[in-house]
């Protein structure tokens, strides 16, 4: 089992004929993900890699192929439109990989999704990889391994770094989830840790945060009250200067809040060890797991 995906996940890729969409669709298919359709307006009737039918709209993909999940690779100006379309067509899980989506667009999208009971992951995220089940996004499959650890992160390559170390130590994963580096995102740390807490196969999990906002602090408070599973954390950006956006739109210390130091204090106060270096995450997890 994994969080947010299972054997019934049937994927439609929006932007499947684009450069990135095509490349990553091939990778997802190679991993065994059930991509039942692609969508690119104007390309309806074509086939992707001679097997996946391409439609003009998500509605057609849902009606013809029963797609229930969308993975979005469309450019920033069209990303919000693609999310509305997938939600309206009936997809219950939407993973938006696109980086650079205007924040006001995301603010408008949110109530539309809430009304329809749709889960969004991202935008500006690597997506989700449930080893042995499905890959929705761009996480590299070569580094994952099936096992009992959950991982949730605001970052991409830093996530890969940690997954790599987990797998090398023999600790496989139930689900590796990148929630994205933007200020307004669909699935939050809180949503992910609640799901990991409920997932019977996830025995322990890792939370990789970074500067900006207070999502890590909120998650820490919830974990302290509700979670019995071992959790370790890491926070990137201790050396980030205030007021500067560190790559991710959401990674900024503003008005003196959202610092790595504050997050570390909140996490430790909730009994969650915070690794000093990325390489300390695995030993840290092994240590508290034993107890």
């Amino acid at each position: 089992m994994a969080i947010f995906v299972d054997d019934s996940t049937k994927v439609v890729v929006q932007g499947i004929t684009g450069r990135d969409g095509g490349f990553h669709s091939s990778q997802m298919l190679a991993y065994g993900t059930k991509i039942v359709a692609g969508v690119t307006p104007g390309r309806g009737g074509q086939k992707f890699e001679d097997k996946v039918p391409v439609y003009n709209s998500v509605k057609e993909a849902v009606q013809e192929k029963g797609a229930n999940t969308s993975v979005i690779f469309v450019p920033p100006f069209g990303a919000a439109g693609a999310i509305y379309e997938a939600a309206d067509a009936g997809c219950k899980l939407i993973v938006c990989i696109t980086e650079g989506v205007p924040t006001c667009d995301m603010v408008k999208v949110m109530p539309y999704l809430e009304e329809r009971g749709v889960r969004l992951i991202g935008p500006n995220c690597p997506g989700l990889l449930a080893p042995g089940i499905a890959k929705l996004g761009i996480l590299p499959t070569s580094i994952v391994k099936e096992g009992p650890v959950g991982l949730v992160s605001r970052s991409g390559t830093l996530t890969y770094e940690v997954v790599y170390q987990l797998s090398a130590a023999g600790l496989g994963q139930t689900t590796c989830l990148g929630i994205g580096g933007d200020p307004v995102i669909g699935t939050t740390f809180m949503d992910a840790i609640k799901a990991f807490n409920d997932d019977p196969l996830t025995e322990a999990f890792v939370m990789i945060g970074e500067i900006g906002g207070d999502a890590e602090e909120q998650a820490a408070a919830w974990i302290k009250e509700n979670c019995k599973k071992p959790v370790v954390s890491f926070i990137a950006g201790q050396t980030a200067p205030p007021g500067k956006r560190m790559g991710h739109a959401g990674a900024i210390v503003s008005g003196g809040t959202g610092t790595a130091a504050e997050k570390k204090i909140a996490l430790e106060a909730a009994g969650i060890p915070v690794a000093e270096r990325p390489m300390d995450i695995v030993p840290c997890l092994q240590e508290i797991w034993k107890k």
Binding site: F77, L158, E161, Y164, G256
Partner: protein, 376 residues
């Protein structure tokens, strides 16, 4: 993108917010001419992209032409927190009876635009939030309906419980500010303070707006507002080369793929007692041109004594990345040592390519960081 007060006021005026007139000048003579045009008293306000302008002596009340001459002379060229004043805003001074704070920002928790208002105007709102958070009223705005009349009136009445006329002016200003916020794709919009004159007229006498960088593509009219002088030259070069870069003051130049890993790399340099020279996310590309651009920007800083590449090749193959780095370093004449850490897909092939060069290979992040500090 941060913009100046006068530019924020131009946006506000366009949405009907009451802003006292004003014009900018870059010389003392022009400042005097503008002041004479408006009539006295006037305010001379430095236009720099930082807070605390008043405390630094960059905002002056002037009753006479001589005052304006003296103050404009002093303020133009003044250094305020590392920003040199090149422009002043000359604006008619208004009598202030009361001051309020009205601001909007993107609230990550409610995932909405959040209206914040307080009767504690004219002071640093961060301080109010820290000391007396109960004096700041908040209203999340539903994007489907915008700031509704009753919501705005409720906020207006909280700020001015005994004066319905003022409450209405505040409510109207809040609704106009919301329009300005969403139509300009702001990430922050503040009026601090919104004031009332003794006659009961409301004015937005200061304005602060940050625009969402992700939305600049649909506001080509705002691009000229960018103050190129206020940007560090290296950060400007990086922006023009589409690289995510922040200049710091250390000696270890960092090139990393991915923002999270780039931050973690900087942190690790510091952990081992070194000082990172920058944040730089080179992205997933192995394109030598991108690497060359990044190296040029980092090496323009003479403090940089060593270069550290930290690449986790997930989708990107390490041998491709190695080829890109080798090609880039062959084009350029680089005098400082270069440490390259490559992990992920095809890492052995990548490292085999590096072993034929002067580049210093490393397997783990820790090893790479330690080597870089040693060589730097």
């Amino acid at each position: 993108m941060n913009i100046h007060e006068y530019q924020a006021k131009e946006i506000f005026t366009g949405f009907g917010l009451p802003v006292p007139g004003g014009k900018v000048a870059t010389t003392t003579e022009d400042s005097v001419a503008l002041a004479n045009e408006f009539g006295y008293p006037v305010m001379v306000k430095c236009q720099v992209l930082t807070g605390g302008r008043g405390k630094a002596g960059g905002i002056k009340f002037c009753e006479t032409e001589a005052d304006v001459r003296k103050n404009a002379e002093a303020i133009l060229g003044m250094d305020i927190k590392g920003h040199t004043v090149k422009t002043v805003l000359i604006t008619p001074a208004v009598d202030i009876e009361s001051e309020y704070y009205v601001g909007m920002l993107i609230d990550r928790n409610t995932k909405r635009i959040l209206l914040m208002a307080s009767a504690e105007g004219g002071v640093e709102i961060e301080q109010v939030a820290k000391d007396t958070p109960e004096l700041i009223f908040k209203q999340p705005i539903d994007p489907r309906f915008g700031l509704l009349d009753h919501e705005a009136m409720d906020m207006g009445m909280r700020l001015c419980p005994t004066d319905i006329k003022k409450a209405r002016q505040l409510a109207s200003a809040m609704q106009k500010l919301y329009q300005a916020f969403v139509h300009s794709d702001a990430s922050l919009a503040e009026i601090n303070p919104f004031i009332f004159t003794p006659e009961g007229r409301g004015h937005a006498i200061d304005a602060k707006v940050n625009l969402d960088d992700n939305a600049i593509f649909r506001h080509s009219d705002y691009e000229p507002m960018r103050d190129l002088d206020a940007e560090d030259p290296s950060e400007r070069a990086a922006r023009e080369a589409n690289l995510s870069f922040v200049k710091l003051s250390g000696n270890v130049g960092c090139l990393v793929n991915g923002a999270g890993l780039a931050m973690a790399t900087m942190d690790l340099v510091k952990y081992y007692g070194g000082q990172p020279a920058n944040f730089l996310d080179i992205g997933g590309s192995s394109n030598p041109e991108k690497v060359v651009n990044a190296l040029k920007i980092i090496l323009a800083d003479e403090e940089v004594k060593v270069i550290l590449f930290n690449i986790f090749g997930g989708i990107t193959r390490c041998d491709d990345v190695a080829k890109g780095i080798i090609a880039a370093t062959e084009i350029m004449d680089i005098k400082v040592p270069i440490v390259v850490r490559l992990t992920g897909t095809n890492e052995e092939e990548g490292r085999a390519l590096l072993s034929k060069t002067d580049l210093v290979p490393a397997t783990t992040m820790d090893e790479a960081v330690k080597k870089a500090i040693e060589l730097g």
